[in-house]
Symmetry: C2
């Protein structure tokens, strides 16, 4: 182990130079014109895996961009870790806002600036370098390792689920390791162990069979905007609880340990409110902000439209009004069941004076791993050791569909070992990644394999 | 009188031919390219007034299109009637939906088809022909007559209010006579004696200072769409009454005579609901449909928008949501006072977690004339005689701002002697006007002057 750590220390400069090479390839998955760069980038990943000692590699073609696979299975009888990442990046536009060109990596103030520096090249490269350091010093790894580095994450990972299903046996593992999220705060080692799910619905309320003059008809014909507003207003009670029957039925209570962990994070409501320009936060009564965001299901209107939406005034009593409504779900809520309860509720409360149609747009399962899961614990110990601080456990209010896929199809826990920061401008101009986090990520990966092998 | 009636009978064909000439001029006020046609049309009206014996005429220039004025004041000591109409028409588009070209009048099934046939050339021409018939047979009229035929009604009558104010003395009269509305039903003589007013507001609710991800922030930051929906939902109580404090304070109760008149109209809720494709009507409890539409104030959302309104799903917690809300007013509600109460109410109920701005867009006063006003009574007798049936009294849920102007500035009652039908497709392709109504309108106008002179 000591030799490995020394190797990393001595090769930092080279690792960074190699990351720069990786970042110079404009692997923009959304653009047809970068198709050749995508293949070039996949080949770059393969060559780096081979350099690291992962000799068995393959580029899998898909309907979209190729998936890079590599495996080293020399640790007979030991645990197997699947490392996921993506080599594709977001388009860099608007170009004029970049201080240095997006595909010419630049080092400033301890950060490396380039498209993909954080999301996700910088974060997946740490694991390749970790394997290299171990292989070159010990000639082996304490665990078996499988790499899946895809090229379509930024365009919806359309072909990944099928790939996992089709190669279920090949991808069999005891844990999935992903570095594609953020630290709770700069320098704070973080393991994310839960993501909310989603049920996304569209409600359309139809009143009269055509747009009417609100003077000539107002007061006698129900107004679909007013009725839609009543439906939306009826989604929450005065304590911020969602009123849809059975909405909370399958919600698992969080454990005492989780509650304490959240409390220990000392989240500042005041700072949060200030950052987003609101005078006061608002949510379900009886829960702290992080509990609301991470562990409680919620309902939000994502869009609404109806009637006249242009400049000035038009006195129309519109025929239709539409709202998009999504619910964030937590374990063990089921997106399909929630969609059904939602539809039933909306149809039941709408008056006979209007017609209501409810459409299910899409959904995703929530996921949360037990804090005491060995993989989660190994992850926590690893980052704690690398960063030299106590690891914090977080969850995330959003969804990462592939995490659910890995968990469901491979039946393995997923360790979200995020190394970025929310302020790293991923998807924006001047994306960057802390060089310190890059190095600490390599150590974290080495420690994780070590810790996880102890099972 | 008999000679006059006989003259009308004998000149029907010619009157219709002259109306066709009037309709052939494409006096589209909204289009720059028709500016010359507008002047040509104003000159046509002048020539017809002169033919009718109204020798003193003048074309008043405005910042927009000219106003035609004409007067015959030979009935010394008698009442004075101001006849208002407009010679401009709506654009005819979409042209491909017209069965015959919009400016080539065509007679089919007892109707004359052309843009402006009903709105308003056909309806104002009856009064010119009525004057002609009386002048050519009796050499005089029983009342003094003033004509104001404007050219900007279809673009908002922008210059008319100032014209009335500036020529208040010249326009002094005992009643204003306007044929620019509809019969209650085909063949049913109708006098409209009231119009609702308007207060039009815009509400903007602002939550976070930028659009946020609804997964990462939903449940902790107030959603402006949900909050706007709550505000809108709180405008009505469960009986359909508007909950804004003092909203009904200045509402004048309708008289027993008015109530009975409405009842006598035997309005069919079932037919109305079917026509507009709703299963059930909806409105303020304790009032019939026509009472709600004509005599009760109402509140309607005219437009709403916020967040993602495109195809599919986007999980945004938007920064802003906006609604346009209008209230229809009845005597003696004041648009400014209502706007103030509305603003106060909305600001008071919004939670501290969002910011709310309320803007007054525009407003208009309601108006209703007493059923026993001599001008209203003279109008009722006149149309009853011409159509050979009992006249019905109606009000209208919408607003006609010029009616309020005439009443306020000239302090005169306005007789709305509508001759069209709601099914005449004004503002749409194939606008038409019943030739029978055109002729009956001429008789109505003659009878009105006769009746009104009796005071």
């Amino acid at each position: 182990m000591e030799a490995t750590l020394k190797f990393i220390e001595e090769n930092k400069e080279r690792f960074l130079e190699e990351l720069k090479d990786y970042l110079r390839i404009p692997s923009i998955s959304a653009k047809e014109e970068n198709k050749k760069d995508m293949l070039k980038c996949a080949q770059f990943v393969v060559s780096k895996l081979k350099d690291a000692g992962v000799k068995k590699t393959k580029i899998y073609k898909t309907k979209g961009h190729p998936i890079v696979y590599g495996e080293w299975l020399g640790a007979k009888g030991a645990q197997t870790v699947l490392i996921y990442g993506h080599y594709d990046v977001q388009p860099p536009e608007p170009l004029e806002l970049w201080k240095t060109p997006p595909f010419e990596p630049d080092i400033r103030d301890g950060q490396i600036y380039a498209r993909g520096a954080n999301d996700n090249k910088g974060q997946n490269f740490v694991h390749i370098k970790s394997v290299e350091a171990q292989m070159k010093t010990m000639g082996k790894l304490p665990v078996n390792v499988k790499f899946v580095i895809e090229g379509e994450e930024e365009v919806g990972s359309e072909n990944l689920t099928n790939f996992i299903k089709e190669h279920k046996a090949m991808l069999k593992c005891d844990a999935v390791l992903i570095s594609d999220t953020s630290l709770y705060a700069p320098g704070v080692p973080t393991i994310n162990y839960g993501l909310r799910g989603l049920t996304y619905m569209e409600i359309e309320v139809t009143g009269p069979n055509r747009d009417l003059h609100s003077g000539s008809f107002g007061g006698a014909i129900a107004n679909p905007i007013n009725e839609l507003a009543k439906i939306i207003a009826s989604f929450h009670d005065k304590n911020g609880k969602v009123k849809i029957p059975n909405f909370y039925k399958d919600v698992k209570k969080i454990t005492k340990a989780e509650k304490e962990n959240i409390k220990a994070l000392r989240f500042s409501d005041k700072k949060f409110a200030k950052e987003y320009g609101v005078r006061e936060l608002q949510g379900e009564k009886g829960y702290s902000t992080l509990e609301r965001l991470w562990t409680r299901p919620t309902l939000d209107c994502n869009g609404i439209y109806g009637g006249y939406t242009g400049e000035g005034a038009k006195t129309v009593l519109p025929s239709k009004a539409t709202a998009k409504v999504s619910m964030r779900l937590v374990p063990d809520q089921d997106p399909k069941k929630i969609a059904k309860e939602f539809t039933k509720y909306v149809k039941a409360i709408a008056p006979k004076s209007v017609r209501v149609s409810v459409k299910e747009m899409h959904g995703g399962h929530p996921v949360a791993f037990p804090l005491d899961d060995p993989a989660i614990q190994a992850g926590a110990k690893a980052v704690g050791k690398a960063f030299g601080k106590k690891t914090v456990f977080t969850r995330e209010g959003g969804s990462i569909p592939i995490v659910v896929d890995f968990r469901k199809i491979l039946n393995a826990p997923v360790v979200l070992m995020g190394l970025g920061l929310d302020t790293d401008d991923i998807h924006s101009p001047n994306e960057h990644f802390s060089i310190d986090s890059f190095y600490k990520g390599i150590y974290s990966s080495v420690y994780f394999m070590e810790e996880f092998s102890k099972k």
